[in-house]
């Protein structure tokens, strides 16, 4: 009876091992690339939002400069309107409101009060006008 000499690994085992390793490497490589790409896209969106916000901020500062210059020559109500503000109030104290669109549903809101020939900023904020979809949850009230 001949003793059969056999190799420790059968024919094809190394090929199978290679296929498995390559599959794993490919999956990890693709996952790493897609994660990095998603991060980069998020960074780009953040950068766009920041740029849009500061552009709106610059527009608000220009409106304040226009208002301050107009107050030297015009009445408060006319000065506010010339600077693009929505006017309310009077005759001693005038309220002005300005909304500058930032992105999509976000607006930069600036509110000023004009009295005795000078203005004072009372509010400077970012407001989101997005409409939330109402979700109704049928919660048991105990009865």
């Amino acid at each position: 009876m001949k003793n059969k000499e056999s190799t420790p690994f059968g024919t094809g085992m190394s090929s199978l091992l290679m296929i498995f390793v390559v599959l794993c490497l490919t999956v990890f490589g693709v996952l790493a690339y897609m994660t990095a790409r998603a991060d980069d896209r998020l960074t780009q969106r953040s950068a766009e939002m920041v740029q849009a916000y500061y552009q709106a901020d610059a527009a608000a500062e220009e409106a304040l400069a226009q208002l301050d210059a107009a107050l030297l020559e015009l009445e408060p109500e006319a000065a506010l309107e010339s600077a693009g503000f929505t006017v309310d109030g009077g005759p001693e104290t005038w309220n002005g409101s300005l909304e500058i669109s930032i992105q999509d549903t976000r607006v930069y809101q600036l509110q000023v009060v004009v009295e005795q020939g000078s203005y004072r900023v009372t509010a400077r904020q970012t407001v989101d006008h997005a409409v939330w979809e109402e979700e109704y949850l049928d919660v048991w009230d105990g009865q």
Partner: protein, 137 residues
């Protein structure tokens, strides 16, 4: 099958395995390298954005209102810490003041880029109004 034939088939299979593994590894390494490059770019862009924002926010309390156009350059290292000497990144701030009847409107142009590089990481335009009288608010 004699021993020599078995050894030959083993080495032939090994040669094919090594060949195809090399090809696959070359492709996968490109994926990893591209992912690393994107990740580094994203990190740099984030740091640039924060550095520009931090500088703009300090404008609310000015030390001096410029009378004429000025340009400042600030340097940052790889961790985005400010440095005196040119390092990994630089932020260029250009200011153009406009005199109005009641004050000064300063327009700021901020650009952040790698030191010695050409690709701009982040760019920001903003403005600040300084009235001649009264408080800045």
């Amino acid at each position: 099958m004699n021993k020599l034939s078995r050894i030959q088939s083993f080495f032939l299979e090994m040669a094919f395995v090594i060949f195809f593994f090399s090809l696959a590894a070359a492709v996968v390494i490109r994926f990893f390298a591209a992912g690393n490059q994107l990740s580094q770019h994203s990190q740099d862009a984030n740091g640039a954005m924060l550095a520009a924002q931090s500088w703009v926010e300090q404008l609310n309390v000015p030390e001096a209102i410029p009378d004429e156009s000025e340009k400042w350059v600030f340097y940052y290292n790889s961790q985005w810490n400010p440095t005196e000497e040119p390092s990994d990144f630089q932020m260029t701030v250009s200011v153009q003041p406009e005199q109005t009847a009641a004050g000064t409107l300063c327009r700021y142009d901020i650009s952040v880029m790698p030191e010695g590089g050409s690709e701009e990481l982040f760019h920001l335009n903003t403005a600040r109004y300084w009235p001649e009288k009264g408080d800045v608010s």
